[in-house]
């Protein structure tokens, strides 16, 4: 690694799964604004649904998601009732417009729900919003809750993309994060998926976890690749104990230092590319035939709340607690607390808590940032028209913002074209953040960029 890059390993930056980052959302966007955005959706406009299932059977100490350990299943049943109510409200506002092209069930643990309750959600989507066999339907799976027969039933209700939270196969790492799931368990899960002709299986791997070593992580990668997943997401663990109390259980002395952490990411990326995976953005990997890799070559790759995606929809409708919607330039995030969510939805009101209305200038920076993250390159000439401002002003501002990054070799400037050199792609978020006009507003707990 270039020694000049060392200092950037300390830099924190948003993940830019949205722009502006959800951290900057405010209360100016409420249910009324979101509703008016929904009512502008046109006929057949592709819609992507994100459904948040916040329940887990057990707490993983590294978790940064909005989740709750739930022992009373009745609460989950009531939550599904509320989700259905929310779907109905959204459908009433859409009035038959929009077409659902993809659904993503995330969590928490979506397979905390039993098959009947998952089925109820899909039936409600079908009847209220329309759902056809063409839709891509993805679900995140906790292999520990993947009982025999579950995959078959999930396949039957139309799920065609499965994502397994693997994290790390090393049992001592698993112990240190309170997520013990032997390789055999994951293997059995994958076998059942393949038996049911599932052709888009994804693994989540995490680097930067306690007790991780290069040798151990190579072993994890070997095991992962041996199961031949169609995609792999390689995320850095975000250690934010001041914000997430349960992360305080993690022994900080066991966390890899910033340089070893970087080396894990770097090594893992190289390993997967050597194994024939296509690097998508900077932290996703896909088999060359997978739709995500195809999207890279087609230039249709997008950044959304799940990371990188080949989803064709520009509009995302988030359902359930803390979900974020993006409809017609309006971000709307739902209430995070489930009791408040319940009380709003049961009164027949959309549970929007906060959001953001994108200005033309936001759209411009969003495009620049998305380009940099997806392709490591952006051409300001191409996007200047979006901003409504003058190209020369935008060029001057942009040049100024990256001048120090340029000196350190993290970015190149070629007359309005910004390029992140291939070796520096792990620093993509750092470069992206340089273009973020909101980044210095206030004191937010951002995660480590690399």
């Amino acid at each position: 690694m270039n020694p000049k890059w060392l200092k950037y390993l300390d830099v924190n930056a948003p993940r830019y799964t949205s722009f502006p980052s959800a951290l900057f959302f405010d209360e100016r966007v409420g249910a009324d604004v979101y509703e008016s955005a929904l009512s502008r959706v046109s006929m057949y406009e592709p819609l992507s649904l994100y459904i948040h299932i916040p329940f887990c059977r057990q707490l993983c100490w590294y978790c940064g998601c909005n989740m709750v350990v739930e022992n009373q299943y009745e609460r989950a049943v009531r939550y599904v009732d509320l989700l259905i109510r929310e779907i109905e409200m959204v459908a009433d506002t859409l009035g038959g417009c929009g077409e659902v092209v993809s659904i993503h069930l995330g969590g928490g643990t979506p397979n905390y729900l039993n098959i009947e309750d998952l089925g109820r959600i899909f039936d409600s989507i079908e009847l209220n919003l329309g759902l056809t066999d063409k839709a891509n339907i993805a679900i995140e799976i906790d292999p520990r809750l993947c009982e025999t027969g579950l995959i078959k039933m999930l396949t039957k209700i139309g799920i065609n993309r499965l994502s397994i939270g693997v994290q790390d196969f090393d049992s001592s790492v698993q112990e240190a994060i309170n997520r013990e799931q032997p390789y055999e368990l994951v293997e059995a899960c994958v076998t059942e998926m393949r038996e049911n002709a599932q052709a888009d299986i994804s693994f989540d791997l995490l680097y930067g976890l306690p007790r991780q070593s290069t040798e151990g992580f190579v072993d994890t990668l070997e095991k992962a690749v041996s199961l031949s997943p169609d995609r792999i997401s390689l995320f850095g663990y975000a250690h934010l104990p001041s914000k997430l109390k349960h992360q305080r259980v993690i022994d900080e002395t066991q966390l890899p230092g910033k340089l070893p952490r970087y080396q894990l990411a770097e090594m893992a990326g190289r390993y997967l590319v050597d194994e024939g995976y296509v690097c998508v953005g900077f932290d996703h990997f896909a088999k060359p035939s997978n739709s995500l890799a195809v999207a890279v070559h087609a230039g249709t790759l997008k950044r959304n709340f799940q990371g990188f995606t080949d989803d064709i929809a520009n509009a995302t409708i988030g359902l359930g607690v803390s979900s974020v919607s993006l409809v017609r330039g309006v971000y709307a995030q739902n209430i995070k607390r489930s009791d408040e969510y319940a009380s709003r939805v049961s009164k027949g009101k959309l549970p929007t808590a906060k959001g953001w209305i994108k200005t033309m200038e936001d759209e411009f920076w969003a495009k620049v940032i998305s380009d940099l993250l997806c392709y490591g390159k952006t051409d300001l000439h191409e996007h200047a028209h979006i901003s409504g401002g003058s190209l020369s002003d935008l060029m001057a501002v942009s040049r100024k913002r990256i001048i120090s990054l340029e000196k350190d070799g993290l970015a190149e400037w070629r007359d309005g074209i910004v390029i992140i050199p291939d070796q520096a792609k792990h620093f993509s978020r750092v470069v992206a953040a340089a273009f973020d006009p909101y980044i210095n507003r206030g004191n937010f707990s951002l995660s480590q960029a690399v």
């Binding site: 006929m43 057949y44 592709p46 459908a91 009035g95 038959g96 417009c97 077409e99 092209v101 079908e126 009847l127 209220n128 919003l129 329309g130 759902l131 056809t132 066999d133 063409k134 139309g158 249709t300 064709i312």
Partner: protein, 231 residues
């Protein structure tokens, strides 16, 4: 793209037009006999082969088509190549109400069919002498817009039974034979896509409707209503 240009009926005469099943619904109803004879020399029924596109999405179209026989599905392509069925055309339906440089959708023949093609330039000419033509076009409304409204109403229905039943009833209303049996010229997958349902849900719903007595028989593409229950 226009299969309709190659046709066996080019020499058809006015009497052929006089026998036309959709004449009363077509703009020809506004013309006198002499003009119909003139028109018939160049305009009469043109066959369209099954699977052929009458007009193609994104391409120029300068003609009005009136479906004389057969049926069509209106398809729009999504950016990733997937298809969206946005409607169906049956006997008497209009297509290409306005000349356009880029058609909104593709009209594909679901079975061998017949259409009449009227270039809009000719319609403009004819309308000078027969203002009824313009009125008729206006009265037809924008068939395409009407189709969109029809579809959105269907998609807005909250139960699968309602969606399927209103779709089947709309087909029955087009049925000139005036009996309770209809033939679906489109595949079940097309129907499911159009109704925003999964194929399995469509099949299950047809079974429910039969069990409930709304439908007497469902056998492949042939569906018989239960006469007593539907009135």
């Amino acid at each position: 793209m226009s299969e309709a240009h190659d046709c066996a009926f080019q020499r058809a005469n006015a009497s052929f037009c006089a026998l036309c099943k959709v004449r009363e619904q077509s703009i020809c109803a506004e013309l006198d006999l002499g003009e119909m004879e003139d028109l018939a020399k160049t305009m009469a029924h043109r066959p369209v082969k099954e699977g052929k596109a009458l007009i193609a999405e994104g391409e120029e179209n300068d003609s009005l088509y009136i479906v004389v026989d057969g049926s069509f599905r209106l398809v729009r392509h999504l950016v990733d190549g997937r298809r969206q069925i946005v409607g169906f055309l049956f006997r008497g339906d209009y297509l290409g109400m306005q000349p356009t440089e880029s058609s909104f959708h593709t009209a594909e023949a679901l079975e061998p069919g017949l259409v009449c093609r009227f270039p809009h330039s000719l319609l403009d000419e004819l309308s000078v002498r027969h203002p009824g033509i313009k009125n008729r076009l206006l009265a037809r409304g924008q068939t395409e817009m009407h189709k969109a409204e029809e579809h959105i109403v269907l998609l807005g229905k909250k139960t699968a039974e309602e969606r399927v039943m209103s779709f089947l009833e709309s087909l029955r209303d087009k049925n000139e034979a005036d009996d309770d049996t209809i033939f679906l010229s489109m595949s079940r997958q097309d129907v499911a896509d159009y109704l925003g349902l999964r194929l399995e849900t469509l099949s299950r719903t047809l079974a429910v409707l039969k069990k409930r007595g709304d439908l007497q028989e469902v056998s492949g593409r042939r569906i018989t209503f239960n006469g007593s229950a539907s009135d």
